[in-house]
Subunit: 191 residues, 2 copies
Amino acid sequence: MQELQERIAREGRNLGRGILKVDSFINHQVDANLMMNVGRELGRRFVQAQVSKVLTAEISGIAPALTTALCLNVPVIYARKSKPITMPEHVYRDTAPSHTKGHMVELLVSPEVLGPQDRVLIVDDFLATGQTIAALARVIQQSGATLVGIGTVIEKTFEGGRAFLGTQYGVPIESLVVITDMNDGRIVFGA
Amino acid sequence: MQELQERIAREGRNLGRGILKVDSFINHQVDANLMMNVGRELGRRFVQAQVSKVLTAEISGIAPALTTALCLNVPVIYARKSKPITMPEHVYRDTAPSHTKGHMVELLVSPEVLGPQDRVLIVDDFLATGQTIAALARVIQQSGATLVGIGTVIEKTFEGGRAFLGTQYGVPIESLVVITDMNDGRIVFGA
């Protein structure tokens, strides 16, 4: 996605250790029109997958997941990291190590919104190690629903998430911008 | 907003102590099309306000704030509750008591995305006591930006937020659905 890649090249900052700062247009501040185009493009790539729900993890997955869901005309679920008082006692839950926080985070989904009849597209802002997405996939498995695809905004290939998730789940994985190298302060884009 | 009020009447649940469960269509699971209509309506009500940024608090404010920003053709900022490693050392910050969590939460906004030139519309899912919105308003004051309005999806008038915020800030406050009473398991809608 050319528009997005150009924006990353212009405004993204390589903070070292694989951390890409994009909080002026992707997270913290979100360019709403760009995010709508992200949703259109992810939606287009999965339009044949008969998606019934989009699933993401709070917080920074919400924006791209919502616009993708809009374009696919389905609801979006964001897994909660802590249990709100509105959630029932029994929930689907799994854990993933947080890439930027350095501890384990829980991901919780209510059985009221996800079940065996659902065909689920996971959407997140980053595909890095794939650990958060794998935890979402395990939540989908717990619910009896079917994972039909994984769509992310920015993929960092050097963290190996695609290979890991591909082996584990065998579903199509789409990323709108691919970054192959962030060594020495660079941001190198792939095909 | 009739569509939303009907949906609350049909799917909303009164859990007692003023807690309205709407997590099948507003938070946790989001009806993307309904949320787009929410954004259209909030955008329409503030179209004259020369809004340059929409500001909300993570997590459940993100969806209505994003769709409102889309319709106003401006960026959206979500204040973070914990500081990501991508955020600079000096940030605008304030605290608010969490309605559903029972402790104080911090709200952090980077000076990189908000400044004196901005005219800011605050959007959130609920207007209850107004404490979270007031904390966002104080963050706006710290940045030197101008608060131009407050838009919420669901207002619970019996928690007094409108009176409190109106006195403090004197800006237009718009809510799409007004609930006047939740005593004895009821959900009573206002005009």
